[in-house]
Amino acid sequence: MMKGMLLFILMLLSTMVFSQEEISIALEKAPVNIHDTASIKRGAVFFARNCEMCHTMIYLRYDSLAIKSGVLYSRMPINVKTWPLNIRPPDLSLEASRRGVDWIYTYLHSFYLDTQRPTGWNNLLFLNTAMANIFAPYQGQQIRLPLNEVGAKIYSRAYQWYDLLELQTPGSLTPEQFDAVITDVVNFLAYASEPYKIDQEKLGYWVLGFLIILFILIYRLKREYWKKLEK
């Protein structure tokens, strides 16, 4: 009986260990800060230099921060008809709302060398992604560790991208510098999704503050009237 159960559990585990392809990794928390305008601008400059070759940002067409940082509508690949693998890279104006900042932050960290893929790159979070790893010169080249090696190390929590990937050849940036660059990019993407967010926060304080005062006044008025009934 016990042996049978043990065998069953081992079989279950083995399927988990050897299914290299299908693995869900935990998202790393992106340290974004929408109030850090300098970071958003740095992210925009990075975007203009590195991402705008393939990705459009069409809803930032009239956004002054984006324009000042060089994210220009005229330079976006809007009318490009042919793309490698016949896949048009998605517009990124709303990517942060769609995927969440943690997803993007983790995704941009999780590229690894994979000779099976036409681009030469694969991604832990988005398996068989069509995107090439344009971050390699900065981050360096990562390789994926076989799961059974990692499995022994980690058992009490979900895998993070850095559990499964190892830096093989370093890039021009240290891991800390690279984290900072990706944070800027994600910050910019978050801004691109909701450029009104700071106004939203500010107006919210005023409106809620007003309502709380109004509530106190109306509540006292109501109590004044209802008090008469109790007599």
């Binding site: 709302s97 769609r98 969440g100 999704s193 009104y196 926060e201 209802w226």
Partner: protein, 405 residues
């Protein structure tokens, strides 16, 4: 009256020509309601507040929105980014849609626990149920308008339900969509329905809901009859007592509502679904299509049944049963306070089943979830179908002569 007619002034002038004074007298200052309304009695007035919010913000959205397949998605982004305070107007509308269903579900729950659907308020309940169904249509047509992936595929799935109608089903689907698949034609007609036809119906139904309410008078948490035509120790005139109380509640409601609007409008993908930030693409089906949270209890019932036609029939029945609730309840008392233990258990089962179904409907299908959805569906139907039995044979407490405080 005589004194008044001799007075000069705007009001006197109006009152000689229009029953303004009588109206205010009859429906506010001398409409009497029980003194012991509790928390649950706020949600009727809250739904009026949300309705007003939806209509006002809707008017402003319509000024900038373009209902065509090529422009719809970007016109929403135009509202969010380029229109001054456009993001606020839109987020008030999207959050308002979810808030509408929250307050409506709680309003219906109030009706169920205090027996507000029983004699003489059966018609009041029926009109309310009609509002609920029309509201579902309004929400559905509105959800299509942003023309994101979920808008598109949600419309595709929900309009395809009509194909279950025997013989003519597939023609009805084409007739509804105005095309062989959901397209810009569908979008445009849904826009028309969403901004004109359905709101008019809702306003009319809300009006007669209030007419019926004021004719039979409001129920109360004790579910006992009180006089509604004159002031007694048990009741108070609606104005100023309940206008002030509802206003207090309304401000509190707005504080919560606007906190969501300003700080968490997406509600973790519940109020604004993540996939809907991708423009509609008829060539790419999303991996997981689910309606917005307020429709998921019924969607879960549909998915719990293996056969599509049967599933749709059972889903329709789950809403239809709410309509006949007044005739299923055989209890001589209205309020849950005096009903027997079986009614209390049944309401617990209903709440657990409904919330459970809603939770399952949001998530993708798995064998365990389907099994649970089947259990919850049985729970939901058991509440209604066994109601004539348990309400009739259980021992109930005799309600007091006068209201409890």
């Amino acid at each position: 009256m005589e004194n008044l007619s001799r007075k000069k002034g705007m009001l006197a002038w109006i009152n000689a020509r229009f029953p303004l004074r009588e109206f205010l007298y009859k429906h506010l200052t001398h409409y009497f309601a029980a003194r012991n309304f509790n928390f649950w009695y706020y949600f009727g007035s809250f739904s009026l507040l949300v309705l007003a919010n939806q209509i006002l913000t809707g008017i402003w959205l319509t000024m900038e929105y373009t209902p065509t397949a090529t422009e719809a998605f970007s016109s929403i982004q135009h509202i969010m980014r380029d229109v001054r305070l456009g993001w606020l107007i839109r987020l008030l509308h999207t959050t308002g849609a979810s808030a509408f269903f929250i307050v409506i579900y709680l309003h219906m729950y109030r009706g169920i626990i205090y027996g507000s659907y029983q004699y003489p308020r059966e018609l009041l309940w029926l009109i309310g149920m009609m509002i609920y169904v029309v509201l579902l249509l309004e929400a559905f047509t509105g959800y299509v308008l942003p023309w994101g992936q979920m808008s598109y595929w949600g419309a595709e799935v929900i309009t395809s339900f009509a194909s279950a109608v025997p013989w003519v089903g597939k023609y009805i689907v084409i007739w509804l969509r105005g095309d062989f698949a959901v397209s810009g034609v569908t979008l445009h007609r849904f826009f028309s329905l969403h901004v004109t036809a359905i709101p008019l119906v809702i306003l009319f139904l809300v009006f007669i809901h209030l007419v019926a309410l004021h004719y039979v008078g409001s129920n109360n948490p004790d579910g006992i009859d009180i006089k509604h035509d004159r002031e007694t120790k048990e009741d108070v005139p609606f104005h100023p007592y309940y206008t002030l109380k509802d206003l207090t509640g309304a401000v509190l409601f707005l504080i919560i509502f606007l906190s969501i609007v300003f700080y968490y409008p997406g509600m973790h993908g519940l109020f604004l679904e993540h996939e809907n930030f991708v423009p509609a693409d008829p060539l790419q089906t999303p991996s997981d299509i689910s309606p917005v949270w307020y429709m998921t209890p019924f969607y879960a019932i549909l998915r719990a049944v293996p056969n599509k036609t049967l599933g749709l029939t059972i889903m329709a029945a789950s809403i239809a049963l709410l309509f006949v609730l007044p005739w299923l309840d055989r209890s001589p008392v209205r309020s849950i306070r005096y009903k027997g233990i079986y009614s209390k258990i049944a309401i617990c089962v209903l709440v657990i089943s409904f919330v459970g179904l809603g939770y399952i409907g949001i998530h993708s299908v798995s064998p365990l979830r389907t099994f649970l959805a089947q259990i919850f569906s049985i729970g939901y139907f058991a509440f209604f179908l066994t109601m004539p039995i348990y309400t009739r044979f259980e021992t109930f407490k005799k309600p007091p002569e006068h209201l409890t405080s």
